[in-house]
Symmetry: C2
Subunit: 194 residues, 2 copies
DNA sequence: TTGACAAACTAATCACATTAGTTTAATATA
DNA sequence: TATATTAAACTAATGTGATTAGTTTGTCAA
């Protein structure tokens, strides 16, 4: 029955995002997605460039999603409070939408200009959070890479079930973030003195 | 040409490890592997339980590989020196055999006893490195999770090309590791004083 | 009303994993 | 030495999923 489902690229990508969150990243198949949209598989090719194109669009979608998420979480906050909010927001995103998060880990195409631009916007949010520490240019780069590594590493281990022992992972996460903040503060002090 | 290629499970798994290192994790297909071994695809089923079985075997293989790697790197070292050696060894492993490293990130089956045992052995190496700091039981867990997160996060961002800016990644890595070590030392001091 | 476009379709192809059943070399045994 | 067993390879067939080509049919504007 009835042609002209109201599909477009956005609705296809959003449905794919739902799919990976609900059924896992390995279930992302065109057939499964088409079924959810009450459409046959080839129809999806009118909106996305096959499976690889869909993955690309989805990665961009998730990245923008994440950017908005962390931006909202950090406005009006500074220093420790901002760093903690940033880290928590990132982690909350990963937990609430695990499929999308997993997608952002999977080799995002670094050559795409839209992806690059959005990634840069995320970097700028983090830089803004570090601004009050008045780090030197190089230290700011180290800090941003460091925080990304910490957060990304912790979350990926957490969602992969890498933490076997049943000790509060929230506590571990904040222990680590606090260690980082303390280190930053010390770096700041060193710079002022030296 | 002909029959009785000298295949067994170990040689198949090793060939798969080579394959993923040389051609990338997405190229891991039975047909491609069979071709390299001068054999038809179904013959591989005599040695591994299909693609999923191969992946499982390969994950275990890589994990043991990694365990030996980090063990060798840390014997005879302690404190800062040992932590740096551990982190560097892990990172070197990821760079030298990127395919295998990527595999260890992909949802390792946590229920398998052999995988569990090997993972535990890796944990014990890291615990041994932290032993001189005389951390409390909980802090030791936090520390181990923290170092794993840092190293894993940094490496995964690095191999994914996540660090766009051309500033020395070695420097960033050691900046971060040193921040961690300083934090640990302070944690140690706090514990002694309090 | 009609023409162009876009969104769906069907049918076919290709790649890959997987299974069933067969052949044959290597090894053990009488 | 001859034979039986086992295991490692094979061929053939099936199923799933992505992809492409070509077709039909709503929708919208002239």
């Amino acid at each position: 029955m009835s042609h002209r489902m109201g599909l477009d690229r956005a609705s296809v990508v959003e449905a794919a995002a739902k799919l990976v969150d609900e059924e896992g990243i390995e279930q992302l198949a065109l057939g499964r997605l088409a079924e959810r949209l009450h459409v046959k598989t080839p129809s999806l090719y009118n909106h996305v460039a096959g499976l690889s194109g869909l993955k690309h669009d989805l990665a961009l979608y998730c990245l923008r999603d994440l950017r908005d998420y962390v931006t909202r979480a950090t406005v009006g906050k500074s220093r420790e409070e901002a760093i903690i909010a940033l880290a928590d927001a990132y982690r909350a995103y990963a937990r609430q939408t695990p499929g999308r998060y997993a997608l952002t880990l999977q080799a995002p195409p670094p050559d795409d200009p839209q992806v690059g631009a959005t990634a840069q916007q995320v970097v700028e949010v983090v830089l803004a959070v570090f601004a009050p520490y008045k780090l030197g240019e190089e230290d700011a780069i180290h800090a941003i890479r460091g925080l990304r590594s910490i957060v990304q590493g912790f979350i990926s281990l957490e969602v992969a079930g890498g933490f076997g022992i049943p000790i509060d992972t929230d506590a571990s996460f904040h222990w680590l973030i606090n260690l980082f903040i303390d280190g930053l503060s010390r770096s700041e002090a060193t710079e002022k003195n030296g």
